[in-house]
Amino acid sequence: MKDKSKLIGFTCAYTPLALIDAAGFAPYRILPMGDSPDQAGHILHENLCPHVKRVLDRGMQDDIPELSGIVFMNSCDTMRRLNDAWQKVRPNDNTLLVDLPVSNDPGSVSFFAEELALLTDTLSQWSGNNITPERIENSIGRYNELAMHLNELKKRVDNGTLKDGSLRLQTIYNKAATEPIKDVMEMIKQMIDETNELSDGGLPVYLFGNVLPDPEAFVLFESCGARIVSEDLCTGSRMTHSIETDKSSDVFKRLANGLLSRTACARTVDPINPGKMALDVVERANACNARGVIGHTVKFCDPYLARMPSVRDALKKEGISFLLLEGDCTMRSIGQHKTRIEAFIEMLR
């Protein structure tokens, strides 16, 4: 049984988990799951991203373990408002909003590095531990290892050689976000070592979007005849990534650069290449030989909604079929799309 007071809550895939680990805490992602009643809309607004509303619902319902603090990232307007509302509904919680630039130009990296240094000071206060550069390097090493193992596991799922691959991969992603890293690493290693078992086919599909943590959603895709051959979701493969370990450069700058340069979600922009996200989707779909692309985004998510027309255009230009699904983080909402997914797969056959 984990020591609950050693947990730090987080809500966004851009959170520097290695710093939380270096402080002696375990990161705990407050996933938009469970069945807390809808209350957040009264404090925020109904017309706001259901990911954030459900996270707030969990906070209001006390449907979270005891936390020593919560780190919010300024990833979008709604996440900022979550930080505000959280303080209102849970005034006794330690919270910190970390400012997150939208691009990785040198000025933004320097700014973010200073924000990460501030976060480290705050975590140090919350834990009472002195967070030395060595501790941070060790934690970066641990999280790099996790990223590497998850990536290996993902490859097996993408190749279709792991039984019930995408369902189990999502389950592991959720565990990696909520349970101590050591335990999760063990589970991943065991799964990687399992003997190959080719999946029963299904049409290769590339899946991208933001929040889709329920493993059952992946069962649904498969039951509709799809096989997810690669995925890019903020509750999936975008959650972990390797950070450079060249110890001669400043650790915060390295972390900042690593986070801002990793596979981008729609909230991150490359100013040199406006609209790059659409090209990335095409490139990844081609790289995994997908026959079609499914985009899944939660409702009212401006960063994604605004980019979907360019994604659609870019895929059309390449002759790749595209299905866009909107949900509210519940299985009910994704289940309502079953017929559309089946028809999409049928059309691709």
Binding site: D77, N83, D84, V102, S110, E114, G275, D302, L305, R307
Partner: protein
């Protein structure tokens, strides 16, 4: 078509003033100057820069480029006959109808070639992520470069320093895209002009606080959002001065903005940008005056003309639409007290996540000081689903409730 709209607007106002010099009002002066700015924007200006609302326009004015922020042009386009068509274009192209109308209007009109092509686009994550996304989309459509200004959420030394540097880089980028250089003397002069405008604005707002207020519900609508386009210029000073003079003369003549003012209101964030009868109804039926718009406020110190970047950075960070709701709410409460308002109207502009997401916290803080808030559900830009009758009924009930309770002051 849009150029014609601005030309007609300019000549219409000038003719009206020529015919009847008495009809010249500060509101007309502001409309005249915005028509002239619109004309410049649509006259194939080769020095055009599109920017987000928190970008320092005075710096762009000092460089003699033509600056414009996207929401400004969207609010003008909505008043043209083609307005609804632009929304339809955007939606047909896949821009979701539950996003902010300003951005839908921009995309719909850009796709129809109704937005002039800039040399450069400058955006920031504040006030909103949707705005940044819209600018990125415009940059893609225009095939033009995008410069992103990172405006920190809180005022810290490192944040101010980095933003100040970013603003410097921005000026260099504008220079390399437009060929206009930033002359030191012109920059100093622009900052002096900004400070003068700031002083006059501060005096205007003090006058507006009087009971009864010399302003009516239309005088200062959109004022704090549009005037920054003229910061740093003589025109900006003239516009501000004309408002000050007008209010001063109304006070001298004992003339309140709304005759027999009985109810004083605050309007939060955006006004409704298309024609509607709500303000008129408030004034006629209830002698209620919108004495303060939340964004008509000065949150920044004068800028040092010799070293303006730090001051410009602090000003952008201090915007009520940047940072935490806690800071915004403190400002709203301060305004409520200064203007002695009886109630506030929050349109909760459809699709504005940063704004509507603050709804509950604004309500509860205002409740603590005894000021009720009416939360509407309006798309302030897209008139297609505007249900005026229903809104009037809700506003009437709100006014009756205010009338039936003692003043909070």
């Amino acid at each position: 078509m849009i150029l014609q709209h601005f030309e007609d607007q300019e000549s219409g106002i000038m003719n009206a003033i020529k015919k009847n010099p008495e009809s010249a009002s500060p509101r007309k002066k502001l409309a005249l100057e915005t028509a002239r700015l619109g004309k410049r924007l649509y006259s194939n200006a080769d020095d055009l820069v599109w920017a987000g609302p928190l970008v320092p326009f005075d710096l762009l004015n000092a460089m003699e480029v033509t600056p414009c922020f996207a929401e400004f042009i969207a609010s003008i386009l909505v008043s043209t006959d083609a307005g609804p068509l632009f929304f339809e274009n955007a939606e047909q192209a896949g821009y979701a109808s539950d996003t902010c109308g300003y951005h839908r209007m921009l995309m719909g009109s850009a796709l129809k070639g109704m937005i002039p092509t800039p040399k450069l686009l400058i955006s920031a994550m504040s006030p909103c992520t949707g705005g940044l996304a819209a600018m990125e989309n415009l940059a893609r459509v225009f095939k033009k470069d995008l410069f992103i200004l990172h405006i920190p959420q809180k005022e810290s030394d490192h944040g101010v320093r980095i933003l100040a540097n970013h603003i410097r880089n921005m000026a260099e980028s504008v220079s390399s895209h437009t060929g206009k250089v930033l002359d030191k003397d012109r920059l100093r002069k622009a900052m002096e002009n900004t400070n003068k405008t700031r002083d006059i604005l501060s005096n205007i707002y003090k006058l507006a606080q009087q009971v009864p207020s010399p302003v009516n519900g239309r005088d200062l609508s959109n004022f704090g959002i549009v005037l920054p386009l003229f910061f740093g210029t003589e025109v900006g000073i003239e516009i501000a001065q004309s408002f000050y003079d007008e209010l001063k003369s109304r006070i001298k003549a004992n003339r309140s903005g709304v005759p027999g003012e009985r109810i004083r209101l605050m309007w939060l964030q955006n006004r409704i940008q298309f024609k509607n009868n709500l303000v008129k109804m408030l004034e006629k039926e209830f002698n209620a005056s919108i004495v303060i718009d939340e964004l008509n406020v000065i949150t920044w110190d004068p800028i040092d003309p010799e070293d303006p970047y730090i001051g410009l950075a602090r000003r952008s960070i201090s915007s009520p639409l940047n940072g935490t709701v806690e800071r915004r709410v403190k400002q709203i409460v301060k305004l409520a007290e200064a203007y002695k308002i009886d109630g506030a109207i929050n349109p909760c502009h459809w699709g504005c996540r940063q704004g509507t997401g603050a709804r509950g916290l604004i309500d509860s803080s205002m409740k603590e000081i005894g000021v009720p808030v009416l939360n509407l559900e309006v798309d302030c830009v897209d008139p297609r689903n505007f249900a005026e009758g229903q809104l009037i009924t809700r506003i009437e009930a709100f006014m009756e409730m205010i009338e039936s309770r003692p003043s909070p002051w």
